[in-house]
Symmetry: C2
């Protein structure tokens, strides 16, 4: 058995079922092993940010790491931005990066690069396999690292001779470390805060902290104490809709966030970080909560938020309470698009169990209030601010979603970074409805430019405007095998969206906004 | 004057004229400064590998560094693969990467990343500006580093407060270090080798080593001594066609290279590296020249290859000789495409002074012999093996080419990594004719798979095949504003190519192969 075969067997034994792939020459023995050994679903991406972003989406829906197959340092580099987002989402991923043979590396052939150096900034675990007999054990270790709560990016680098040499040894799965529990003193501290302080904010973060179960417990606490509940600005997987809380997020714009949090005297962190600006701005505080506010940690991101919230609710003797009713489900709005009307229309149409992938950027900031009364759904966001995650995330979420409908709310500028992912959706016949928000500019940047103090002139607009030429989204999607149509009104959008739900494959609707 | 304004003024003073750009929030003050201060041509790319690859192409044609404008660590990461290629091409580029404000970075906001860490693997020079008053001087240093022979990647990281704070100081251009000359003993050593040894190979590399001037001197030496001349496998800018030598390259396939070099007893390196495999293969030597061959360096890549070759020719008293005639210009071939017939057709049609951008990968390995008798032209190759350089390189070469026609010979799989660059070609109305070689598979990898010892099965083919769905190249190009048509015969290709030469903007021909 060669090293590559031991790799595939070991990954399968550790429960890895999907390989998102963009292979090259140095990975051919890995490809050959995948070919010979049944059990791994292999999904090709035509650019590596599609591969890594899909692995992120897959983890968010399944809690299981996928493996990526990437080609040398530059192939890894092409996938770094979505690994950055995955790291911020605290997703578990096993990257397998092929590389020059151990003895060939010193010759500095053209594709030789600092693969470990590229990996380090996005990975909690990095290892370069040294020989075939080690590859299986390295793979088991990588999966264990990826599955360590809350989820980690593990990158193993595979010199090609470690794959083709004989002597591979299949490794058994290693135990997944238990999710750590909150310290009891943390629960008691938080209880004391809730008893003694006014204007307490409980800030929910992470997949555990924004889960329905966590919301049920947080709701008890809020009902008993009057504490305010909020989620972080960006969330990996937020369970929303009917049966869940009508929870808002810390606003993105600095001035709005500062104002919104101005009354907060104490923050209890549940898998979250105290709110700071996405960026700094001149004459604007970097921290968005008052200097006088104190901060208590109930759970760190890796700790069990649900159990901790339940313990906290019990500690303060908060009675069980029903989840608040979200009110009537919105209806389809007719006519010209607006963010609110679009959100209501989507809430009106989305099937139960929909997965929303939200890279709507500036247009999507107000979607939440209008979708609370939608059927229960999961809402996936861009977590690391590296735009270009939406199309890949939708792809991976669909593969991990077991047939659930994915609705991708996708800004046009961001879509262009990883548009290649549409092809993978077509090839895999994934149930993804993309609503492509076509405003033909980097709207968020035009807003930021105006914040600098002026309207953009021609040179600046040349860098902020996506028109000239307009991108033909219907043609672009069709060229990649995705059925597509344009809508200029919400009526048209609603019709097309309903049609898309009956398709077995992806569908893109260009909504001109 | 704020830091950003001092940056733009300093870059202009140092002779930087073009900014390839993909900005974000943290770069808005830089964008605003570009807006206010005239003199810089700003070119938007919709993904960062387009930006960095275009800067590479621009340098190759002009020998002048462009500046890139990139957004934080992940924005830089998206451009790393083509910076890797640029580093291997020894191109000069100044990257300006915006980043979190100095005081905001410790808060670890979502987009915070190890920007310096990402930069290091591709940059010979990295500096993070610390305050506004330093930005101008840092920019002048970066340009000096980029222009240091043979050309370097210089990355300056600009925390946003260093751009918006007052106190910017414009820096004067720093002197460009002279191109170092070869050591005299290196010339004498090479002369001794040529006098004493048989089966000497003179291996030309780098833009200086493959220039027409270098070829004239190398031709004297070869004519006088019988030494063999070859170029490296991958070349940044190779001057070819009528009036130049009919020079071949070290073959890419390992077995072919080993056989081709089997008689070599001595190698004289001229800005080149001794030939090693692009990858290692089992039971195949890593070095492609005989173990018994000795190696002499005439010039290192940063040294003046032309002067050294002239000195060497004089040292051995080689008479001046005419450049060999390339024979009659090929004619357009009719009928079904083949690599040879395509090369002859392009040789028949290309205008004098054409810039060929070659990312034809496996299909293009045999193009050279059939294009020696074409009009004088420059041939740009993928230098670092990170595919996805072709479309950006063509974009930047057109901007640096002063109206010269660019013909991009582009494999389909590789094109998909940076297809967004077509949009920039359309926006800038660049004279680029792309011949898109559409074989709907990663042909090079299928060959490599077969080398592993078997034909790919369904799982492997699922990772090597680009059909299902076929990419609609004409639609794809049109969706990005590029006129396009399909050809299935070389007659059609020739007609379309001739048409494209009369257009003011880009044109893509999908050649089904």
């Amino acid at each position: 058995m060669n090293g590559a075969e031991s790799l595939v067997h070991s990954l399968l034994k550790s429960g890895v079922e999907v390989c998102f792939s963009n292979p090259g020459t140095s990975e051919m023995h890995f490809v050959a092993a995948l070919d010979r050994i049944p059990g791994m679903r292999c999904v090709l991406g035509l650019q590596e940010n599609v591969v890594t972003g899909a692995a992120d989406g897959y983890w968010r829906m399944t809690g299981k790491p996928a493996v990526t197959l990437l080609h040398c340092g530059p192939g890894l580099a092409n996938g770094l931005a979505n690994l950055h987002n995955a790291r911020r989402a605290r997703s578990g991923i096993v990257n397998c990066v092929g590389d020059q043979a151990t003895y060939h590396r010193p010759l500095d052939a053209p594709l030789t690069a600092d693969t470990e150096g590229f990996a380090r900034g996005v990975s909690q675990w990095v290892r370069t396999s040294s020989k075939a007999s080690q590859v299986g054990a390295d793979a088991a270790n990588a999966v264990q690292a990826a599955r360590t709560s809350p989820g980690q990016v593990a990158t193993m680098i595979l010199p090609s001779d470690t794959c083709w040499d004989d002597g591979g040894v299949v490794a058994d799965a290693l135990p997944v470390p238990a999710v750590p529990q909150a310290e009891m003193h943390a629960v008691r501290n938080a209880a004391r805060v809730l008893r003694d302080k006014k204007n307490v904010l409980i800030l929910l973060g992470g997949t555990m902290g924004t889960s329905e179960e966590a919301q049920v417990e947080a709701n008890r606490i809020a009902a008993a104490t009057g504490a305010r509940l909020l989620a972080e600005t960006s969330n990996a997987k937020f369970q929303r809709g009917r049966g869940r809380l009508q929870l808002e997020r810390v606003p993105y714009p600095a001035d709005v966030a500062v104002k919104d949090l101005s009354q907060v005297e104490h923050i209890i962190l549940v898998g979250s970080k105290a709110p700071v600006g996405f960026f700094a701005y001149p004459n604007m505080p970097s921290k968005h909560y008052p200097d006088t506010a104190t901060v208590t940690v109930l759970t760190r991101p890796e700790q069990d938020a649900v159990t901790a919230l339940r313990a906290l609710a019990d500690e303060i003797s908060a009675p069980k309470v029903a989840m608040p009713d979200a009110g009537p489900r919105p209806e389809v709005v007719r006519g010209a698009p607006s963010p609110e009307a679009l959100a209501r229309t989507i809430a009106a149409l989305m099937p139960e169990g929909t997965i929303i992938v939200d890279e709507a950027v500036s247009y999507g900031r107000g979607f939440f209030p209008h979708t609370h009364a939608a059927p229960a759904h999961d809402w996936l966001q861009i977590t690391g601010g590296a735009i270009g995650c939406g199309v890949p995330l939708a792809t991976g979420a669909a593969i991990g979603g077991g047939g659930r409908r994915v609705i991708a709310l996708q800004a046009d500028g961001s879509a262009m970074y990883t548009v290649q992912g549409l092809w993978t959706q077509a090839r895999e016949k994934l149930p993804v409805t993309t609503v492509l928000l076509s405003n033909r500019k980097y709207q968020i940047l035009i807003g930021e430019y105006q914040n600098v103090g002026a309207n953009p002139g021609p040179t600046a607009m040349n860098m902020l405007d996506l028109g000239n030429p307009d991108i033909g989204w219907v043609k672009l999607a069709e060229s990649l095998g995705v059925e597509a149509a344009q809508a200029t009104t919400l009526d048209q959008l609603a019709d097309l969206m309903s049609q898309s739900f009956s398709r077995t494959g992806p569908f893109l609707i260009e909504l001109v906004i």
